[in-house]
């Protein structure tokens, strides 16, 4: 059934060290095309360190992280900085918790979405603007706001704009760091629904870090549970949440507020 397909990302025994202490250690998983993987845990569990390591912001001090580039799994730490920059321009995206970290706050909404296109070689102004307008519509931002700066947008709109900026170049792999946790509950639901449908329509692979198990339940296929820098449980998201094995996962699941 799996045939000749390869995972997009293959992580084996990976760890990052802060001085003599590991922020995360011995992490192994594979991510397949079209799959959404949630990494859950409380603050200090190592989930953000893991994301930083996957996204090449932090070094991989042991183990291996391989990414499928041109049909071959390539060790990420073997890539030059230039090659990594090329990946960020064309194949990878990163959605930050705080939209201000992922947007240019004093550039228009249209400019924020058009800029990644220009970085991949788009030159025709009219086409860039049309594509930006199309994406604003896709993330439910009124097109008549195209010339406004994100500083004039609500939190939910800023987050949707950041998503458009990331997805406009049709990446294959998107990292998301708590994308909904700065938002009001009603705005969260809308954003999650939007992420979920875009991921399905575009066939994206996503690694999403969240402390919120309800977010994992709604949008992920598989879940890793982290504690003290280690993955303590992993599997199908509904299995991890409905039949948790580790004591800590049982505690997390039993602490969910029923909505």
């Amino acid at each position: 059934m799996i045939g000749n397909e390869e995972p997009l990302l293959s992580v084996t025994g990976a760890g990052h060290r802060y001085g003599d202490r590991f922020g995360c250690r011995d992490v192994s998983f594979e991510l397949w095309p079209g799959e959404v993987l949630a990494v859950v845990g409380e603050s200090g569990s190592g989930k953000s360190t893991l994301l930083g390591m996957l996204a090449r912001r932090l070094t991989t001090d042991e183990g291996s992280i391989r990414y499928r580039r041109d049909r071959e799994l390539t060790e990420l730490s073997d890539l030059t900085e230039r090659e990594v920059r090329t990946l960020w321009r064309s194949e990878w995206g990163f959605v930050h918790q705080n939209p201000a970290d992922g947007l240019r706050m004093h550039v228009s909404a249209g400019g924020n979405v058009g800029e990644p296109l220009m970085a991949t070689g788009w030159r025709h102004y009219g086409r860039i603007r049309a594509k930006a307008a199309e994406w604003l519509e896709r993330v439910e931002i009124p097109v008549d706001r195209i010339d406004d700066d994100p500083t004039t947008f609500s939190g939910g709109m800023r987050q949707r704009l950041q998503i458009a900026r990331n997805l406009v170049v049709s990446p294959r792999l998107v990292f998301m760091d708590e994308p909904t946790s700065g938002l009001d509950v009603s705005v969260q639901a809308r954003l999650l629904d939007l992420i979920r449908s875009l991921v399905a329509d575009l066939g994206l692979s996503v690694v999403i870090v969240t402390h919120d198990l309800a977010v994992a339940r709604l949008i992920s296929h598989r879940t890793l549970v982290m504690k003290d820098g280690a993955v303590i449980e992993s599997g199908l998201t509904d299995r991890v949440l409905d039949d948790p094995q580790a004591a800590y996962t049982q505690l997390l699941v039993s602490s969910i507020l029923q909505g």
């Binding site: 059934m1 799996i2 397949w32 799959e35 639901a189 809308r190 999650l192 629904d193 979920r196 449908s197 399905a200 339940r217 709604l218 296929h221 598989r222 599997g235 199908l236 509904d238 299995r239 409905d242 039949d243 094995q245 580790a246 004591a247 049982q250 505690l251 039993s254």
Partner: protein
């Protein structure tokens, strides 16, 4: 007899509750039965005996401590008890559907799209999928004016009918039903009985828990009785 679609062979399950000092709650041990194509097998026994757990073990939402759950598909034989998450996801998309008692839907998605989604996941074009979804909602008595609304605002019975439509829309060889008629009126129960009969006539295997005796009597080819914390015996 044809090869069964599903062979459940000596499965066992015990929950360990760490929050209560590692208390062990045995649910099932050594349960075995088959489901053939075109056959409706009903799990029987008092409530709380673990009938839903059996369905969840087949679907992969619960782990299996011991035994095998063999699913035969055109693509080959898969032991669901040991399958990888990726294999389980593929089996859910292509081979087995699950209708639970409760609808779990993303807050803002319209009922029509909630129902159409299993077809969309299998690559059916959006308009075709919506037409098919509308037909099913119509049969189940959900008026067209509700189709564009998210089901979160619907009554319990309406949500359950949306859930049934979603579960029945795709052609899958195996269907798992967990009390699909629990909060339906007599007319809608009859529609569900018809839908199940159509699936059976098309060769699907059905493994079900039915709340109502009349639905069970109308559909069951066999009842597998589950007794407290033990395996079941065919009755």
């Amino acid at each position: 007899m044809m090869n069964p679609l599903l062979t459940v062979d000596g499965i066992s399950k015990t929950f360990t509750v760490h929050l209560r000092g590692g208390q062990r709650l045995p649910v099932l041990s050594g349960l075995s039965f088959d489901v053939g194509p075109g056959e409706c097998v009903v799990l029987g026994g008092p409530s709380g005996v673990g009938k839903s757990s059996v369905l969840k073990m087949v679907y992969g939402s619960y782990g299996v401590d011991d035994g095998h759950i063999v699913l035969r598909r055109p693509a080959g034989v898969l032991d669901l008890a040991t399958a990888s998450p990726r294999e389980l996801l593929a089996a859910r998309r292509d081979t087995m559907g699950y209708v639970s008692q409760f609808l779990r839907a993303v807050p803002r998605v319209p009922a029509l799209d909630v129902v159409a989604e299993p077809l969309r996941e299998r690559g059916v074009e959006v308009e075709t999928a919506r037409v098919r979804a509308g037909e099913l909602l119509d049969r189940l008595g959900i008026p067209e004016r509700l189709w564009a609304l998210p089901p979160a605002t619907f009554s319990g019975g309406e949500q359950q009918r949306v859930n049934i439509a979603r579960g029945f829309i795709a052609e899958r060889p195996l269907l798992l039903l967990d009390e699909p008629t629990a909060s339906l009126d007599a007319r809608n129960r009859e529609v569900v009985v018809e839908l199940v009969r159509e699936k059976l006539a098309a060769g699907a295997g059905i493994l079900a828990i039915f709340h109502d005796d009349d639905v069970r009597d109308a559909l069951a080819d066999r009842v597998v009785a589950i007794s407290p914390s033990r395996g079941g015996a065919a009755a």
